[in-house]
Amino acid sequence: MAEMVYYYDGSFEGFLCCIFDSYANKEVLTAIYRDEDFVPTLFASRVIQTNQDHANRVYRKVVKCSPYTASLLQKGFLTCLPEKELYMYRLVVKLLREGPGFLRNFSDETLHPVAKAVQHLMGEAHLLKGFVRFSELGGVLGSEIAPKNRVLPVLRSHFCARYQNEKFFIYDRTHQEALFYAAGKAVIRPLVDFQMAPPDETEATYRILWKRFYDTIAIKERYNPKCRMTNMPKRYWSTMTEFQGEEHFKAQSSPAAGSVPGAPAGISAPGKRPERGPSVPESAL
C-alpha cells in the first residue's frame, strides 16, 4: 500500500472523506493537513474533495462498530492536539481492523492520545462553564473567552439551557468564532476581530460589586496563591472580571435611565433598619 499525504477542507466531513478515500485508493496516510496549511512537500500528496455521502458512510460505519469512538471523533476534532486528524485516522483504522475490544484499555497506544486530548477538551469546557463572564449591554449578554480547544460546541447546551430566556453570545478569541443565542436558536459563526463595548453605568456597578465580593471572600490567614493557580490556571484570568484593571470598572457611556441597584438613592439611611430595597431593573424579572 502506498504512503500518502492528504489535504482536506478543514471540515469534519472533509476529515471523514480522507478516511473514505484512503480505503478507496488503498493508501496509508502519513499526514493529514488542512488546505490552508498547505506546504509543498516531496511526499506524494492528494487533495480530497468533501462528499457528504462518503462522510456519512464512514460515520455510520464507526457508529455501528463503536458509538464511543464516534463521539471521540466528534469531540477529538475540536481539540488542540497537534496532528489530531492523523491520530483519529489511526484510531478508526485500528477499530475497523481489530474491532472495539482494545477500546477498553485506556492506555492503548492508539486510543490514549485521542482520549487524553478529549479529556483535556472536556476539562477545559467544564472549567469555562464557571469562568465565562458575561456583560450586559443593551439587553444582550456578551462574553469573551480564549480557550486552547474549540469548546463552543461543548458549551452550547449548557448555556442555552441556563439562559434560555436571554439573548447572549460567547466570542472565542483563539478560534475567531462566536456562539450566538436568541429565542431558542443557537448558531456558531466565524467572527473576526471583535471588540467588547465598554460597560454602561449598570454593568459597571455589578462589576464593582462582584470584584468586591471576590476580594472579601478570601481569608487572608489562609492565603494560598499556588492552590488558586492549580485550580484556576492564569491563562483564564485575562477574560475574568475579577482580574481586570481599573479601566474595566468605569462606566463609559451615558448613565442608564431609572434607578440602579447599588446607587445611593432609594436605600434607607444607615442606622435605621432597612425596610424596602431599591427598585429592580426590568431585565431581572
Binding site: 455589578y206 471572600i217 484556576m232 432597612p274
Partner: protein, 422 residues
C-alpha cells in the same frame, strides 16, 4: 449604607463557612424561569479566591446581627463590629444579576440569629420566596437551618432550597458548653434528623407522584471547626462517620480555626490555622466516602491523630505492609482502591483495561495511577518498577518526598519542624 458596603460587611462575616459546593442538584431549566442547577456531579466552580477555595455561590449572611455569644465566632454579640442586613429585594437583585453574568452558580444564604431562630428563619424564607417566586430564580440555593428553629419553618425552608445545612461547629458537647453556651447538641441534631427523615419521605413521594414538591433535593451537609478545641482526629472522624451512616449527610466540611478573637478558652491569636490537619481530615473523609475505609481502620486510641507527614492512605498502607504488594492483574476493586496512588477512576480503568490483555508497569501511568506513591505497593504481571529498591525506612522517606512539592510553602516549614522533633 449602600449595597456595596452591605455586601462587604455580610460577605466578610460569612467567609468562615467552608461549605461552598453546588453539587447534588439536577434541576433542568424551566420556561419563564432563569437558570438550572449544574448537571455535573462535582458542581461548578466559578472562581477561586486568593486562599485557593472555590467560589461557586454568592455566600453572604442575611444579617450579621446576632443574639448569641459563641466565643469562636466573629459575629458574636460582644464583638465590636459593623452590623448590616440585606433587604430581601437587595439580595434577590444581587443574586439574579450575578447569576445572569455567570459570576455564580446560586446563593448560599446564612444568617446571624436576629431576635430568635424562628424570626431569623422567617426572614430567610421571605427572601428566598421572593427570589424563587417573583424573580423566578431556578438556580442553586443552599440555606442554613439554624438550631432551635421550629420544624414547620425548616420544612418551608427545605421546599425553597436545594441543600440545607446545620452546622455542628464544635466536635464535642464539652466544646459546645464552654465556647457556645447558648447551643446544645440536641438543638443541632433535631433539625438534622428532621431534614433526613423528610428527605427520605420525599423520595417516596416522588416515586408515587412525579410532581411532588422537592424537599432539599441536594441533601444536607454540616461543618466542623478544627483546632478550636482539643478534640482528636479520631473523635472527629468517628463523628463524621456517624453522620454519614446515621444522618445520610452528603458532605461534612472541616474548617481550620482562624483565631479571630483573644479569649482564654481559645488558641492564642497568633496561632496559625491548622491547615495541614484540615487537609488530612478531608483526605480521610474521602477515604470514608469513596474508598470503603472505616474510621477505626485509619486511627485508634494509640494513634488518635493523623501523621502530618504522609496522607492517611499511605499511613494505613505503612501500618499494613502485609497487605502489599497488590497484583493489579488479579486484585479485586476493593483491594485496588487500597493502594496509595490508585483512585476511583484509575481503579475502574484497571478493571476495564485488563479485560483486553495483561497490564504491565508502563501502562499504569497512562491509566492515571500516581506511580511515585503506588510503585512501592503493587506489581504488574509479577514485576515491580525497574530499579526500585527500598527498605521500610526509605519507603517512608520516599512517600514524604513524593507529597512535599504539592503542599503549600508554609506547610513545608511545619513539616521540617516535625522532622527535627521526631
Amino acid at each position: 449604607m449602600d449595597v456595596l458596603e452591605k455586601l462587604t460587611v455580610l460577605t466578610d462575616a460569612a467567609k468562615y463557612d467552608a461549605a461552598c459546593t453546588s453539587s447534588g442538584g439536577s434541576r433542568s431549566a424551566r420556561k419563564g424561569y432563569i437558570g438550572n442547577t449544574s448537571s455535573s456531579v462535582a458542581g461548578c466552580c466559578h472562581s477561586f479566591s486568593a486562599d485557593g477555595r472555590c467560589v461557586t455561590l454568592l455566600k453572604v449572611l442575611l444579617t450579621n446581627h446576632c443574639v448569641y455569644d459563641c466565643k469562636y465566632c466573629v459575629n458574636r454579640r460582644s464583638n465590636d463590629t459593623k452590623r448590616a442586613a440585606f433587604t430581601p429585594e437587595e439580595l434577590a437583585d444581587l443574586t439574579i444579576n450575578f447569576y445572569r453574568r455567570n459570576y455564580i452558580e446560586g446563593l448560599f444564604l446564612s444568617s446571624g440569629v436576629f431576635r430568635s431562630p424562628d424570626y431569623t428563619t422567617e426572614l430567610m424564607i421571605r427572601a428566598l420566596r421572593l427570589l424563587r417566586e417573583q424573580y423566578r430564580f431556578n438556580g442553586y440555593i443552599h440555606a442554613k437551618a439554624i438550631p432551635g428553629t421550629s420544624p414547620e419553618l425548616v420544612e418551608q425552608l427545605g421546599l425553597l432550597a436545594d441543600r440545607l445545612s446545620v452546622n455542628i461547629e464544635l466536635p464535642s458537647e464539652a466544646g459546645l458548653k464552654t465556647l457556645a453556651p447558648e447551643k446544645t447538641k440536641q438543638a443541632i441534631l433535631t433539625p438534622m434528623r428532621q431534614i433526613q427523615t423528610r428527605n427520605q419521605q420525599n423520595q417516596e413521594e416522588l416515586v408515587k407522584y412525579r410532581h411532588a414538591p422537592k424537599f432539599a433535593p441536594a441533601g444536607q451537609s454540616t461543618q466542623l471547626i478544627v483546632g478550636a478545641t482539643r478534640d482528636t482526629d479520631l473523635h472527629i472522624l468517628r463523628l463524621t462517620q456517624g453522620l454519614y451512616d446515621r444522618y445520610h449527610l452528603k458532605r461534612v466540611f472541616y474548617s481550620a480555626y482562624v483565631p479571630v478573637v483573644e479569649h482564654a478558652l481559645l488558641p492564642a491569636k497568633d496561632v496559625k490555622p491548622p491547615l495541614l490537619r484540615e487537609h488530612r481530615l478531608y483526605q480521610a473523609d474521602w477515604l470514608l466516602r469513596f474508598y470503603g475505609f472505616r474510621a477505626e481502620e485509619l486511627l485508634d486510641e494509640r494513634n488518635p491523630d493523623f501523621d502530618p507527614r504522609v496522607d492517611p492512605k499511605c499511613s494505613w498502607a505503612l501500618a499494613h505492609l502485609e497487605f502489599f504488594p497488590v497484583e493489579v492483574n488479579t486484585a479485586d476493586y476493593e483491594s485496588l482502591l487500597r493502594i496509595p496512588g490508585v483512585g476511583v477512576t484509575s481503579a475502574r480503568r484497571i478493571l476495564s483495561a485488563r479485560r483486553s490483555g495483561r497490564l504491565h508497569i508502563d501502562d499504569l501511568r497512562k491509566l492515571g495511577v500516581v506511580m511515585k506513591r503506588a510503585q512501592y505497593f503493587l506489581t504488574a504481571s509479577g514485576k515491580v518498577p525497574e530499579g526500585l529498591r527500598f527498605t521500610q525506612d526509605s519507603l517512608l522517606r520516599g512517600l514524604i518526598a513524593a507529597e512535599l512539592p504539592s503542599l503549600p510553602q508554609q506547610e513545608a516549614v511545619q513539616l521540617s519542624l516535625f522532622d527535627s522533633v521526631g
